[in-house]
């Protein structure tokens, strides 16, 4: 909506829409940061305020919602909700632990890899939700500290999620807004993520390798696990795994035919719902649908919608154009400086604020810089820098990403607490190290 005229007359009490929308954005962020009010409630409240105050009207608010992102998230949530009931994730986790002969150091490494791969193709929350309980089970059986497993799971999920379009919500937002495809993400982010993962696993080994020792008798307990018994429904597994693969292929090839990821994910979800309901009566089909829909995080989807509207308000009022111009003038319009500033800025801010609202706000800001920087092609490294920073910055603190909070919760349920400071002692250096690697990668790949 760049260049759209600002409708001053409709704004409540004749207030300046720029100040009003900025005030609403700051208010929304401040309450989100305070964690005193549910994040969905506050995002929707901010959205309503933007409309009621007259900064934008309802039609403009709806046009600000990125339904490609909403469709992609909803579709993937439905697919994963069906896939997770098959027991395949438990199977892979137990199988991989046995492949390293239940050596705790090997389990730490292999689980980091498994979670990183899961996180690249599923959402981070699902990945940690499925792998962390098994990691805790194995730590308990081996009588070793669960702490390295919990921390490594957080870090691996954030790194793995960086690699693909669907790996982390910031990437979905960026991909949708900048029209970057699944393959664009994989080609541009994948190599750096692979390097980062190898380095971080080496760091894990250096930090915890010596302390993770288990007796042969303890390891035998893991080797007795029967992973094949975790598969609950082989038919459902085949169908849902095939559908997941087809959806990923759809992400890769769909863009060539004008089919965007949101449509691919929703098509895959409804086809899967249909296929797993085949042969069931009406009641059975309704029960299947209800079960799948219960797993969809409606609160998260509404949170996204609310944020889109709040950001639309500041975008329409011209704030993001002003900030974009300031950023360009601060970096002198130099693409290298702009990209690397974006990388570090987004990493540091994503460590302290939720990276989803941050990226939702940054997207129109980056878009506003396009003309002054010389076009979409010049801007592409800035998008990758934003994605690297937002995803890797999540490792900087326990509140840096939703998956971090989820792992803390899972640990507490099993009686293991991770303190904010104890995590920061590992998380902050690893965040700095990984962002530094991304810095070198972005510089060498796009500016040398």
């Amino acid at each position: 909506m760049q260049g759209q005229s600002v409708v001053h007359s409709a704004v409540i009490f004749g207030l300046n829409p720029l100040w009003l929308s900025t005030g609403i954005l700051i208010f929304t962020y401040a309450v989100l940061l305070s964690e005193k009010v549910n994040r969905t409630v506050i995002a929707l409240l901010g959205a309503c305020l933007v409309i009621v105050s007259g900064v934008i009207n309802q039609d403009m608010a709806i046009s600000g919602i990125d339904f490609n992102t909403i469709g992609l998230l909803t579709g993937m949530m439905i697919i994963v909700s069906i896939l997770r009931t098959t027991g395949i994730f438990e199977y892979i986790a137990v199988w991989s632990a046995k492949k390293v002969k239940a050596d705790p150091r090997g389990v730490l490494i292999i689980f980091s890899l498994v979670t990183a791969i899961f996180s690249a193709f599923l959402d981070n929350l699902t990945s940690v939700l499925l792998v962390v309980p098994i990691a805790l089970m194995i730590a308990e059986k081996l009588a070793v500290s669960p702490y390295p497993f919990l921390v490594s799971q957080i870090i691996a999920s954030n790194i793995g999620g960086t690699a693909t379009l669907i790996g982390d919500p910031p990437n979905i937002l960026i991909g949708s807004a900048a029209r970057l495809t699944f393959m664009d993400f994989l080609i541009n982010m994948g190599p750096a993520v692979a390097i980062i993962l190898v380095v971080v696993i080496l760091v894990f080994h250096l930090i915890w390798g010596r302390s993770l020792v288990a007796t042969d008798e303890r390891r035998a307990r893991i080797m007795r696990f029967r992973e094949s018994e975790s598969i609950q429904d082989p038919h459902r597994l085949k169908v849902s795994l095939t559908m997941l693969i087809l959806v990923i292929l759809g992400f890769i090839f769909g863009e060539h035919y004008g089919v965007r990821p949101g449509t691919v994910a929703m098509l895959g979800a409804v086809l899967l719902l249909w296929l797993v309901s085949l042969g069931k009566g009406e009641a059975g089909q309704t029960a299947q649908l209800t079960e799948a829909l219960e797993e969809v995080e409606w609160g998260a989807l509404l949170f996204f919608m609310g944020l889109f509207v709040v950001v639309k308000g500041v975008e329409h009022a011209g704030l993001l154009n002003i900030l974009g111009g300031e950023l360009v003038s601060a970096t002198g319009g130099d693409p290298t400086k702009t990209a690397l500033t974006m990388l570090w800025l987004s990493a540091v801010l994503s460590a302290v604020v939720d990276n989803i609202p941050f990226v939702a706000t940054m997207i129109p800001l980056v878009q506003s810089m396009q003309a002054s920087m010389g076009g979409a092609e010049v801007l592409e490294p800035v998008w990758w820098s934003l994605a690297f920073g937002a995803c890797l910055g999540g490792n900087g603190s326990l509140i840096g990403a939703a998956a971090n909070v989820m792992v803390v919760g899972l640990g507490e349920r099993a009686g293991h607490t991770i303190s904010f400071m104890r995590f920061a002692l590992i998380g902050v250096p690893i965040m700095l190290l990984t962002v530094f690697i991304a810095h070198i990668y972005v510089y060498m790949r796009y500016f040398m």
């Binding site: 309980p133 308990e140 307990r221 696990f225």
Partner: protein
């Protein structure tokens, strides 16, 4: 009708400092599935039940699993169960009792309130005074017994 009229007195032998092993033996001997736990001043501390003890005997990491817990892959040996039972037996009852989801009533609480609690899957409803001293308990069987006696 109030709860004080219907409640049955509880002569508990289980105290918060007692090891869980004592509760396990007591429940096995008396064939009881649910027993109140008090301190030495007879202040109600909570209930200990068979399903609570079974829950505590599971691997702690299972508590991290959300939704349906599918653990058929575990294939545990008798020794592993024995280890966890031995560890559980040594823990004091006070830290094991369930008080979070447990409702208590007073003597003057209308009986219908206790009936509602029992119908909502709370098998036994403890009756306490204003100082939380345990006075008695009401269960489905207490009510049947009271109706049968006709007073």
């Amino acid at each position: 009708m109030d709860c004080g009229t219907v409640m049955a007195p509880v002569k508990t032998q289980l105290y918060a400092e007692d090891p869980a092993g004592q509760a396990i033996d007591f429940m096995c001997d008396k064939h009881m599935g649910l027993v109140p736990v008090v301190d030495h001043k007879n202040t109600f501390v909570g209930m200990i039940s068979g399903d609570r003890l079974m829950h505590l005997m599971l691997p702690g990491s299972l508590m991290a699993m959300q939704g349906k817990k599918r653990v058929s892959y575990l294939n545990e040996s008798r020794e592993e169960f024995q280890e966890r039972l031995d560890a559980l037996r040594a823990r004091p009852l006070g830290e094991l009792v369930d008080r979070i989801n447990l409702n208590v009533v007073k003597k003057n609480t209308p009986l219908s309130d206790a009936l509602m609690l029992i119908s909502e899957k709370q098998f036994v409803v403890p009756v306490v005074d204003d100082d939380d001293k345990l006075l008695g308990a009401i269960s489905f069987f207490t009510i049947l017994h009271w109706i049968k006696k006709g007073y």
